[in-house]
């Protein structure tokens, strides 16, 4: 049997997915008398609640119970890190459609019909709707941070560019909306099935809201129908309301958010406004970078501290500068509180510096790829603005290899020749890198537990605190156990994530799922094996001089061997403990947030993408013709899963930067509020030529089997497509000026960029 890791093992639930057998929260057969929740709100934007008349709601057909903030027996605030997120509006409404009350009724339809009968009035206040307005007012959800870095190297800047970039947010659009099912058990304890990336947080929040201790609440998460960060904190209000009604009524209670509610009521990726001044010397080497990143946080902090920090961490992507000043604003706005989304602020910081690199290339006349290659971190030029030394310098090789493989330079020349001949169709190319820091920047979250249960027939169940949202974590952890214990995957069952099996779990986020939980599972396996080694040597008299080998379902030691299940049976009879708790914490990381200094990341994951587009300058319509990707996953735990993360992450990033346009009206209401007007990519947006390869290099850090995290980094590979669109718009003006292009680059934005290039091209 070859190694169980490094194999393109199908997803552990693949057959369940394709047959409809895999169950999500709404598919769990609901117990009799299950109630259904809907949430009521007002379309007014913000202000004190002057009237909240729910009489008609209470008497509506099917309604069993109605709650407002006053009915919460425990803590009302469910802010994940900082306070500020009331479960239901506490006298004030801070954004359009903020939940004010909730209803439990005998059907979802009746609950939804009932909440429309409320009469809620506000003493309306002027809403603050943009980051710019918040900065003008000095109104932030958390204090502004500025990180300064100066290596004291005297350099002469010969070129400086100033720029700004508007970067819109992104709706998660997980296909399974938020959902929870709460069931009252004995002595008022609660069992909550939740579609969440962070069962521990659900347990903690439900306990606080209900006035219980955490040991009275058990949270179960088998799988999510997508998460992408949107079920890290945003799952909590859903679970808490279901639990609150369950506690009050004794009924089982399900809260499944319909798509429209999910789109208007839950947080999204932050909009960012970036402004920067970037300088370089005559060789194009960066001398100084000043960047301001203003995140539109919405009305509360939620996770915005770390998100804006991560934008700041990635404001240099893979580039070295001897001098930098990076400022991050956390702007308070009367909009839904924005939250985690794959990349966690990193993509917004990264696209800002990539936009700046193209502007610098244009200003200096240096080819953009050449400029990027020159500025990569390298030995001696290896300190980031936050003080971490980059130790693994692979990007130069990786980018050069990608450029060669995809004939980047030749195709660039071909595109230029095409553009000379073509009137309204223009091609654009770009090759951009990704260097993404891996670890939670909140250091305490970098811990994980696992529970390995071996049953006396030799079958194995592995539990850990990581959650499965489609990313293949369970498959990878099963492969780790399989490899470590030398067992076929059929012998291993993956238990649902349960807070009573592995407590105090961190969110499955920050790409850390397999790094943390894989190691915790391996620790459990190693502990089990050492117990079995002692048993075999002491009780079975196996040689003390030779290693025990676990392979192919057999445990052997020199000439002696037993099938795994027989060894287990013997160990059980000899009263060896066959249940093991594993644990892991990431070593060597530390960070001082205020000073902006430290080593927050265990390592970096790297990659690069080259994209080629064609635009029609008459309309702004475009097509992504080809994308080539070379990505660093270390020693892959599962090439199929990793490939899926790279391809899927790229297309999700492509959506963020092209067709997905989050829009609010002037009053502050979300108008991109349904899939009819918010367009995530379809199969047609996947480029016909889409070549993805791994850059094979084991992780020098001791991660699980030398693999690397892969969840978030590939999303940022899509910046190549955005840069290519801008290059094509530039071609519309014969490369005489580089037009501005906001993100997302919808056909409309590409049209205006091309127009700008043509107008400025004429003027020069």
């Amino acid at each position: 049997m070859s190694l169980q890791t490094s194999r393109a093992q199908p997803h552990e639930s693949a057959l369940g997915h394709v047959t409809g057998d895999a169950r999500y929260i709404d598919d769990i057969p609901a117990p009799a008398n299950t109630l259904h929740v809907a949430v009521g709100s007002t379309d007014s934007i913000c202000g004190q609640i002057s009237r909240c008349d729910l009489a008609a709601v209470r008497t509506a057909p099917g309604v069993i119970d109605v709650v407002t903030a006053e009915d919460v027996p425990g803590k009302l605030d469910i802010g994940a890190v900082y306070p500020g997120d009331p479960l239901l509006a506490d006298g004030r409404v801070e954004y359009a459609r903020q939940p004010v009350f909730a209803v439990a009724a005998t059907s979802l339809r009746l609950a939804q019909q009932a909440v429309k009968l409320a009469n809620i009035d506000l003493i309306e206040e002027r809403a603050q709707l943009s980051s710019a307005a918040a900065i003008d007012a000095g109104d932030f959800v958390l204090p502004t941070r500025t990180w300064r870095h100066d290596e004291g190297i005297e350099t002469e800047a010969t070129t400086s560019i100033d720029g700004t970039l508007t970067i819109r947010g992104q709706e998660h659009f997980y296909l399974e909306g938020q959902a929870a099912l709460a069931i009252v058990e004995e002595h008022g304890a609660l069992r909550v099935h939740s579609s969440t990336q962070h069962p521990d947080d659900i347990q903690h929040q439900v306990a606080d809201v209900l006035g219980l201790s955490m040991h009275n609440v058990r949270v179960v998460t088998r799988r999510m129908g997508g998460g992408f960060g949107g079920k890290e904190t945003q799952a909590a209000p859903v679970a808490c309301l279901a639990a609150l009604f369950a506690q009050r009524t004794g009924h089982p209670v399900k809260y499944r958010m319909p798509r429209h509610d999910d789109m208007v009521m839950t947080g999204k990726r932050h909009d960012f406004d970036a402004s920067y001044r970037v300088s370089c010397d005559e060789d194009g080497l960066l001398t100084n970078v000043e960047m301001e990143l203003a995140g539109k946080c919405g009305f509360s902090p939620d996770l915005s501290e770390g998100i804006v920090d991560r934008a700041m961490f990635h404001a240099m992507n893979g580039y070295y500068t001897p001098k930098a000043e990076i400022t991050g604003y956390r702007c308070r706005t009367n909009t839904v509180s924005h939250t985690a989304f794959r990349g966690f602020g990193g993509p917004q910081g990264m696209i800002a510096i990539e936009a700046a690199m193209d502007e610098l290339a244009f200003a200096t006349g240096i080819d953009p790829l050449t400029l990027r290659l020159r500025n990569l971190y390298a030995p001696g030029r290896d300190t980031t603005p936050y003080g971490q030394k980059v130790e693994q310098h692979m990007l130069a090789d990786l980018m050069s290899q990608l450029a060669k493989n995809c004939r980047y330079t030749e195709r660039q020349a071909e595109a230029r020749a095409f553009n000379t001949e073509s009137t309204n169709l223009k091609k654009g190319l770009a090759l951009t890198p990704v260097q993404f820091g891996i670890s939670f920047t909140a250091t305490h979250l970098n811990q994980a537990g696992a529970l390995l249960n071996v049953f006396r027939d030799g079958s194995v169940e592995i539990n850990h605190a990581g959650t499965e949202m489609g990313q293949g974590l369970f498959t990878k952890v099963a492969q780790v156990v399989s490899r470590s214990l030398g067992l076929p995957l059929t012998k291993i069952v993956l238990g649902a994530t349960q807070t009573d099996k592995v407590p105090n779990g961190s969110p499955t986020a920050a790409s850390s799922g397999s790094d943390l939980n894989g190691m915790a599972a391996l620790d459990a396996c190693n502990q089990l094996k050492s117990r079995l080694v002692s048993f075999a040597r002491n009780d079975l008299g196996w040689s003390k001089d030779q290693e025990l080998v676990f392979a192919n379902g057999i445990v052997s030691c020199g000439t002696q061997s037993l099938p795994f299940d027989e060894l287990i049976k013997a160990a059980y009879l000899a009263r060896v403990q066959l249940s093991v708790a594993g644990f892991y914490k990431t070593p060597d990381i530390h960070f001082d947030k205020e000073a902006g200094k430290g080593s927050p990341f265990f390592y970096y994951a790297n990659g690069a993408a080259a994209s080629e587009v064609m635009i029609d300058t008459m309309t702004g319509e475009y097509r992504l013709l080809r994308t080539d990707i070379l990505h660093d996953v270390g020693e892959s735990l599962n090439p199929a899963v990793d490939l899926g993360q790279i391809e899927g992450g790229f297309i999700q990033g492509l959506g963020w930067l092209t067709t997905e346009e989050l829009l609010w009206d002037d009053a502050g209401r979300l108008i991109s509020n349904s899939p009819a007007n918010y367009k995530i990519p379809t199969a047609d947006n996947c480029p016909e030529q889409f070549n993805v390869d791994f850059f094979n290099a084991p992780n020098p850090r001791p991660t699980i089997y030398r693999s690397k995290a892969v969840g978030e980094p590939p999303l940022m590979l899509a910046i190549s497509a955005w840069c290519a669109l801008r290059d094509a718009a530039c071609a519309a003006g014969n490369y005489k000026s580089l037009p501005g292009l906001s993100a997302p680059a919808t056909p409309e934005q590409v049209y205006w960029a091309a127009q700008q290039a043509m107008t400025q091209g004429e003027q020069r």
């Binding site: 394709v18 409809g20 659009f173 998460g227 169709l425 899939p675 379809t682």
Partner: protein, 492 residues
């Protein structure tokens, strides 16, 4: 017409068995019925509005055996009477998966898995309706899943799985329809196609007219056809209708008739049937086909009707500009059986308001004979944020012909630049007889830009719409002149 009493439940064929639908279920979607009554929870709700495809099921007509994929979230359960509903549970199981399911596993086509049953159903539906499975292109496979959203995979492995599964089925000796669950042929199939008092299914126009005599309120007792737009009232706004009248079983409203003098399309002809008609040799119209291929998704085209697209009165509907440029007329018929004709160009009065009176229905659309040049000279362009399954920001249709140097025939119609779809007759007049010099084209574009007052909304800004109206006019006129500009999907 026979009305089963509303006080007794009705039955529907789901996979290989009959399932009972409770009385008074006229506001129940097929999705809700499957999930809550049949416990077929493999069919998922992703959006409830027909945009994501997670709820895709196949309907097989019990009489004809024809199959089509539909979004069960915006299909009334009772619309499936007379059909076999095939769900994900019906096409295969863990022990005996369908080739599409096997390919999705081996090609890693699922990640979170929530959208997966919908993709499988769309791919199975495509195998059932595609005549030559072995010769399919990547573009065909892309179109087949254009109504299904996946947020995890980026689609590449799903397309690979589609190709692999098509090859498996094409080379096997088990034709696609034999993968569907069997039903007992002994059961009286005709009986199950009845309507109920609250879900009326008239089968003739006379029956429909009799129903209209009861002065039905369009808000509470609407006429429904494909429900691809109207059912959002039920699924998104939680409206309960008192009753509905499903007019799709009236054969005379479904017919597409070609005579020597005219083409007559019944209002209940679906976009899918029309796509097939306008891509068939002898009745092909490339411009209409191009727009229809981007119209909604296969699931939407299978249910949505041309009459519904007009009756909705949307300023961004895709049919009106096409029909206006072809100078189509409508027959509107009232409860007394009296008919009147009106130009499509005169049908739209204001935002979402049409000439249709409460006791009238759209019966037929009248177009020029399919042999007319218009179907070959028609040009139509659609601008949207996303190429597939998106609503137009601006859409335009042109029939501009030249005689020598001068414009001899000119019809121009737009959607998305006013409160209604509009035909631009003054612009047409100013172009007639003129030569299409660059200067004249520019001045026509300027005339258009300066006369329209489009809106800014979630799809586009007013400025962009204004610019696009001119760009599309320019594209059409350059094409009419014989000096076409290159287009993305038709690079020169």
């Amino acid at each position: 017409m026979t009305h089963a009493s509303d006080t007794r439940p009705t039955t529907l064929w789901v996979n290989s068995g009959q399932q009972t639908l409770p009385a008074h279920s006229h506001n129940t979607s097929l999705l809700l019925f499957l999930r809550e009554h049949c416990l077929s929870t493999g069919t998922k709700e992703g959006c409830g509005s027909g945009d994501c495809g997670a709820c895709t099921v196949i309907l097989r007509d019990l009489k004809t055996g024809n199959t089509q994929s539909v979004n069960s979230c915006i299909t009334p359960a009772l619309a499936a009477r007379g059909q076999q509903v095939v769900t994900i549970e019906g096409v295969g199981s863990i022990d005996a998966p369908h080739p599409v399911q096997s390919a999705m596993v081996s090609e890693h086509g699922s990640q979170c898995g929530f959208c997966t049953p919908g993709f499988v159903m769309s791919m199975v539906a495509e195998q059932l309706s595609a005549p030559t499975l072995a010769e399919r292109t990547r573009a065909d496979d892309v179109r087949a899943i254009s109504g299904n959203l996946c947020r995890c995979t980026g689609y590449r492995p799903i397309l690979t799985a589609a190709r692999q599964a098509n090859e498996v089925v094409a080379t096997s000796n088990r034709p696609p329809e034999q993968w569907l669950p069997n039903i007992d042929a002994a059961v009286d199939r005709d009986e199950s196609a009845d309507g109920t008092a609250s879900y009326c299914m008239p089968t003739t126009e006379q029956e429909l007219q009799a129903l209209l005599k009861r002065s039905l309120n369009a808000n509470t007792n609407p006429l429904i056809a494909g429900t691809t737009d109207l059912w959002l009232q039920v699924s998104q706004n939680y409206v309960d209708f008192e009753s509905v009248v499903d007019i799709t079983r009236i054969e005379s409203l479904r017919a597409i008739d070609t005579t020597r003098d005219a083409l007559t399309i019944g209002a209940c002809a679906t976009h899918g049937e029309l796509l097939s008609f306008f891509t068939t040799s002898g009745s092909d119209c490339p411009a209409i086909a191009e727009i229809l291929l981007r119209f909604g998704s296969p699931q939407i085209r299978n249910r949505g009707t041309i009459g519904g697209n007009l009756a909705g009165g949307s300023p961004i509907a895709d049919w009106p500009p096409l029909l206006m440029a072809l100078d189509a007329h409508l027959t509107l018929t009232n409860s007394s059986g009296m008919s009147r004709q009106i130009r499509v160009a005169d049908f739209f009065k204001d935002y979402r308001r049409t000439e249709l009176r409460t006791d009238e229905y759209i019966a037929r659309i009248h177009l020029p004979s399919i042999d007319e040049d218009a179907y070959r000279t028609l040009r139509a362009y659609k601008i949207s944020k996303r190429e597939e399954d998106d609503i137009s920001s601006v859409m335009a249709a042109f029939d501009v012909r030249m005689q020598g140097e001068a414009v001899s025939h000119c019809r121009i119609a737009y959607g998305g630049i006013a409160a209604t779809p509009i035909r631009l007759e003054s612009l047409e007049q100013s172009l007639l007889g003129r030569a299409l010099t660059n200067a004249n084209i520019e001045s026509a574009c300027e005339q258009l830009r300066s006369t329209i007052k489009p809106l800014t909304d979630v799809r586009a800004s007013a400025d962009y719409r204004r610019a696009m109206s001119a760009s599309l006019l320019k594209r059409a006129l350059l094409d009419a002149r014989g000096t076409p500009v290159a287009r993305l999907d038709h690079p020169t």
